[in-house]
């Protein structure tokens, strides 16, 4: 491995238990354990993280709607009879983010894509992500809670912590009281 081009891992973040996982970007790391730690450093500086997943990019299938349609016409070869689980992420037409839609069982990624295009057709996605469950490493919920706890303490990372607006108003009031000129 060269020292600047480690494998890429896609990062998926679920902000609260009421949200779904969103694709937020990637990290480079030599292994999944380090990828989770890097993902924490890059994506969890603010206290919005209930669960973090990392998935080896090489094992994830990312296709646009057009690419997906082209792929699904190819004869998808049977991957040896075993059913695997695939997490499906998609980006709907007018949305900006890629979000988790559901989990599908299929013998291969392309089979999973075909199934997903059927199951989620009503969503009319522009982009499909097929993420094999075995490629995913998930954060330990106790650890994630401690990252968030630490981030919550750091109120100075929020703009509301600063008094610029109040101070500016006071300065302006003082100036007009004194009848100040510019």
């Amino acid at each position: 491995m060269s020292d600047t081009q480690w494998p890429r891992f896609y990062v998926f973040k679920q902000d609260t238990p009421q949200d779904v996982h969103l694709a937020v970007g990637t990290v480079h790391a030599p292994d999944a354990e380090m990828a989770l730690l890097n993902a924490r450093d890059v994506f969890v500086r603010r206290p919005e993280c209930f669960s973090l997943w990392v998935a080896r990019a090489a094992e994830v299938l990312v296709v646009t709607r057009e690419q997906g349609e082209a792929l699904s016409f190819q004869a998808a070869e049977d991957a040896g009879g075993g059913q695997q689980r695939f997490h499906i992420f998609l980006r709907r037409e007018r949305e900006v983010q890629h979000s988790f839609a559901g989990t599908i069982e299929a013998p291969s990624r392309v089979h999973a894509l075909q199934k997903a295009m059927d199951v989620f057709s009503a969503e009319k996605p522009r982009v499909w992500w097929i993420v094999p469950e075995k490629a995913v490493t998930i954060s330990d919920p106790l650890e994630t809670a401690s990252w968030v706890g630490s981030a919550k303490d750091k109120a100075y990372r929020q703009p509301s912590f600063y008094r610029a607006q109040t101070l500016m108003r006071k300065v302006r009031e003082e100036r007009s009281r004194k009848g100040g000129d510019s």
Partner: protein
């Protein structure tokens, strides 16, 4: 032969029309979509320069972490610089979706072949500079990034949305500092006025050359990469800052500044573009220092990368999951 060329040209024209129609509709271009080579190249250039700027931007402020006057200010500065590292990561990722590699982008930066925002080639001479960087430089960056959050290329738009959400505290903490210093003791007031005098023009240059001298701009705007011109953004920034600075009793080093009643704009004097190009070409006050710091950081971190690799290989060899 000629027939095939005509067919190819027609196929290309069709693809280009569909691509431009998609942008006009407000749809995002995503990795895997067809795109003109010029679009891809322009974006790789812009995004990688933006990423390098975040990483190099950690240096002028990083030097003051050990010299912050209070523990509160130290924690705030640490958090800000940490964010900037994260922002660089978001942006390198966006460039990678276009086919750039992390390895090549880092190599270019360390070899001094890559450009990054000029503003970071200026020195931070006093503590007031830290406040001014937040207020001016992050303020200008926020305007640019807010615009780029609506960029036609999905990964770059998403990176800028994430950056913009985190960046607003950077500006607020700087502005708060500048307000307090400007209303403080005579020493504090003169320190912050001196910082204004040194950072005002470089900040205005952040918005890039005048529109008439920006050969890339029309294509970037046509393809939804930029939605405002350099001069438009610069004017917004000036209109926002000047009244605030005047209210704080601070002046800008521009004897030609005046308020144009008719347009409602503050008109600035001539920008010294010779200085801009000199600094861009590597002859600024801190260019060499920034490069040396980045190269040293890369070298000093080598043992960490080697250790991680050795650990990962050992675990893989042990057949661990």
């Amino acid at each position: 032969m000629a027939e095939r060329t005509v067919e190819r040209d027609a196929a290309y024209a069709e693809k280009l029309a569909a691509f431009e129609e998609r942008i006009a509709r407000g749809d995002k271009i995503e990795p895997g979509d067809w795109m003109p080579e010029q679009y891809r190249r322009q974006l790789i250039r812009m995004i990688s320069q933006h990423a390098h700027s975040e990483i190099i931007g950690m240096l002028p402020e990083g030097g003051w972490i050990t010299k912050a006057p209070t523990i509160r200010r130290k924690l705030v500065l640490l958090a800000k610089v940490q964010d900037e590292a994260g922002h660089g990561e978001y942006l390198y990722h966006a460039a990678e979706t276009l086919g750039a590699t992390r390895e090549e982008m880092i190599r270019q930066l360390l070899a001094g072949e890559a450009k990054y925002s000029n503003i970071f080639n200026y020195p931070t001479l006093t503590w007031a500079d830290i406040g001014i960087i937040g207020y001016f430089v992050d303020g200008a960056a926020i305007m640019n990034q807010t615009m780029l959050s609506r960029c036609s290329y999905g990964p770059y738009a998403r990176a800028n949305i994430r950056i913009s959400a985190e960046e607003s505290f950077h500006m607020q903490q700087g502005k708060e500092m500048v307000i307090l210093l400007s209303q403080g003791t005579p020493t504090q007031r003169s320190m912050v006025q001196d910082a204004v005098n040194r950072w005002w023009w470089p900040t205005l240059m952040m918005f890039g050359p005048h529109d008439a001298n920006s050969p890339n701009s029309p294509a970037l705007i046509g393809w939804g990469i930029k939605t405002k011109t350099n001069d438009e953004l610069r004017q917004s920034f000036v209109n926002q800052l000047i009244p605030e600075l005047h209210d704080l009793g601070l002046s800008v080093p521009d004897p030609d500044l005046y308020f144009d009643e008719e347009s409602g704009n503050w008109r600035i004097g001539e920008i010294d573009w010779d200085e801009f190009w000199r600094v861009v070409k590597g002859d600024g006050p801190c260019n060499r220092e920034r490069m040396r710091a980045r190269q040293k950081a890369h070298e000093d971190g080598r043992w960490v990368r080697e250790a991680l690799e050795a650990y990962a290989e050992r675990r893989a060899g042990e057949g661990a999951e």
